[in-house]
Amino acid sequence: MAAEILAASSPRRPPFGQRFLLGRAERRNLAMGLLFISPWIVGFVAFLLYPFIYTIRIGFTQYSGFGDPLWIGLENYRQLFRDDLFWKSLYNTLFYTGLAIPVGVVVAMGLALAMNQPVPEVPIYRAILYLPSVIPAFALSFIFLTLLDPARGIFNQALMAVGLPNINWFGDPRYSKLALVILAQFGAGQAALIFLAGLKGIPPTLYEASMLDGAGTWRKFWNITLPMMTPVILYDLILGLSTGIQIFTQIFVIFGNDPPGAPANSTLAYVPYLYNNGFRYGQMGYAAAMAWVLFLITLVLAFFIFRSSNRWVHYDTD
């Protein structure tokens, strides 16, 4: 029996790849494919996977950036749990993100509907509405610093002209986060273009059919446009979650970093606090623990958005 197998296998041993049921061409393709994606594999391991694991490791140590990290187990996480500023920064970030996402969806949808109007010069309007999203966030933030200044800015002059109060956007803790939400809307052109592509993808036959039913503009929007746009909205929610939770530049530029979170810690956000711990207070271990928690929070929130999506996202089944 054994001899039989030996006899059968020794003269013509099956090629290595066949043990994994791969033919000659398939093996060639596998090698070629891996060769072509090898830059990504190297980059993934060197600049993502390794730093990611390294972050988790430093999170268990006390480390100032110099010398050797000192293993302290879960101490950073225990300290994190008791750190009021950590909770404050998490609260502020989630508050901001929770406000910026729905406002962003409404603004992007409004812009996209306007961009979709059949007026001949609409490309010009599209370009203007998209323009603020290509300029640097730091520059837009500096502009906002003067634009929303209660004494020197024109924004508040316009508000007062229509009878609204003169709001100290960056000095009043009640309005500071709202100011950041308004700032974020100037980047809505990006999402609006994606929404616009979604609008253009809706088959006109759907609207024609509802017109025969005598549906008005509002009913058409509610019954056709909105359901057909839900996949795009889902994409925008994920994008908004990721950018919202990472907010850094705008806060660093507008509210300064010395002391961070002015006024009254109302803009102390997660990433700026992480940055300060790591790069200003010399607590790399603590900052790494924060980074790891940030990843978990992002993942959990994205998971919940995806899980809820099968209840409200409409997928074309035909």
């Binding site: 596998l30 070629m32 494919g33 891996l34 072509f36 994606i37 830059p39 990504w40 980059g43 060197a46 600049f47 390794y50 730093p51 990611f52 390294y54 972050t55 950036g65 409004g110 306007a114 961009m115 059949p118 007026v119 609409v122 490309p123 309007y125 370009a127 203007i128 509405l129 998209y130 290509v134 300029i135 640097p136 730091f138 520059a139 500096f142 502009i143 003067t146 634009l147 004494a151 020197r152 024109i154 100037f186 273009l193 994606i194 592509a197 795009v232 994409y235 939770i245 660093f252 300064g256 992480l274 940055y275 790591g278 790399m284 900052a287 790891w292 940030l294 990843f295 992002t298 994205a302």
Partner: protein, 298 residues
């Protein structure tokens, strides 16, 4: 009276009725959207207007209350003064170098990787590609502590390497964008070339790339924009003043005197940084728009 006329001349009445309804239709399809669009555009252009007008105001005028809508006299000298607040030209050179290298890295790496994920059929390809997409769920700030430490050990801090080298290994969004484009090209094109004895690199550079300029230029533009607009990266990895970028340069206005920022000069410097972006955008509008929509498709 009106009723009397209507009774007397029913035909004109219906005609004018039809005209008024067509006027209303015209208003709803042509006039109303324009009003809304122009209002929206006015809001979205406001930051640029404010930047430019503030940049041209005198020191006295930026302190004026209420603020003036248009500068009394245009102080073009502000631009000359603004570039002296921080070493503008040296920071511009740094930013331009980083931007050029970033574009180069993105232009080389993303098409090659995207080719491997779209034009070659290999077992497990789509599972690995799913992993590529999953990487976007690791926010960059999560990695900054570890990356800083790793780059510090390599001696890369205060060099452009941490900002540039990773771009030579592909980026999930841009790989995705190129892959979407490559997938549209019929597979028969590659099969025919293979029968003619072309190898995969030849197919990529001689057949696929010449058809993919829109995608490649979108990736280049996005990469250039990413580098030019980056704030957190330079803030962390560049600590020596000679290596700073324009983004960091603007913060000099704040650190100079925190309570009395010279807004006219700050806005003049901002305008100089924003202007190239606007010019590039206006020149390549179509590429931007196609890139954004291509990169968002499921």
């Amino acid at each position: 009276m009106a009723r009397a006329i209507a009774v007397q001349t029913p035909r004109t009445s219906t005609a004018s009725g039809a005209r008024s309804s067509s006027v209303r239709k015209r208003f709803r399809s042509q006039v109303l959207p324009r009003i809304v669009l122009i209002l929206m555009c006015a809001i979205f252009i406001l930051p640029f207007y404010w930047m430019l007008t503030t940049a041209l105001k005198s020191n006295d005028e930026i302190g004026a209350y209420p603020p003036t809508l248009w500068p009394h006299d245009l102080r073009w000298a502000n631009f000359k003064d603004a570039v002296e607040v921080f070493p503008f030209w040296s920071f511009l050179r740094n930013t331009a170098t980083i931007t050029a290298l970033t574009v180069l890295g993105a232009a080389i790496s993303n098409p090659i990787v995207a080719y491997g994920f779209s034009r070659i059929a290999w077992p497990g390809r789509d599972k690995v590609f799913f992993l590529v997409l999953a990487t976007v769920f690791v926010p960059f700030p999560v990695l900054i502590i570890a990356l800083f430490d790793i780059f510090a050990r390599l001696g890369w801090i205060n060099t452009f390497l941490p900002l540039v080298v990773p771009l030579f290994f592909g980026n999930a969004f841009w790989i995705f964008l190129m892959r979407q484009f490559f997938m549209r090209i019929p597979q028969e094109v590659s099969d025919a070339a293979r029968l003619d004895g072309a190898n995969e690199l030849q197919i990529l550079f001689k057949i696929i790339m010449p058809q993919s300029w829109p995608a490649l230029s979108a990736v280049c533009l996005f990469a250039g924009l990413h580098a030019w607009n980056d704030f957190l990266g330079p803030l962390i990895f560049l600590q020596d003043e000679t290596k700073y970028t324009l983004a960091i340069g603007l913060t000099f206005f704040e650190s100079q005197s925190q309570y009395d920022i010279r807004f006219n000069l700050l806005m003049a410097a901002s305008a100089l940084i924003v202007l190239p972006v606007i010019v590039v955008f206006l020149m390549f509008q179509r590429v931007f728009v196609e890139g954004v929509t291509l990169g968002s498709m499921k």
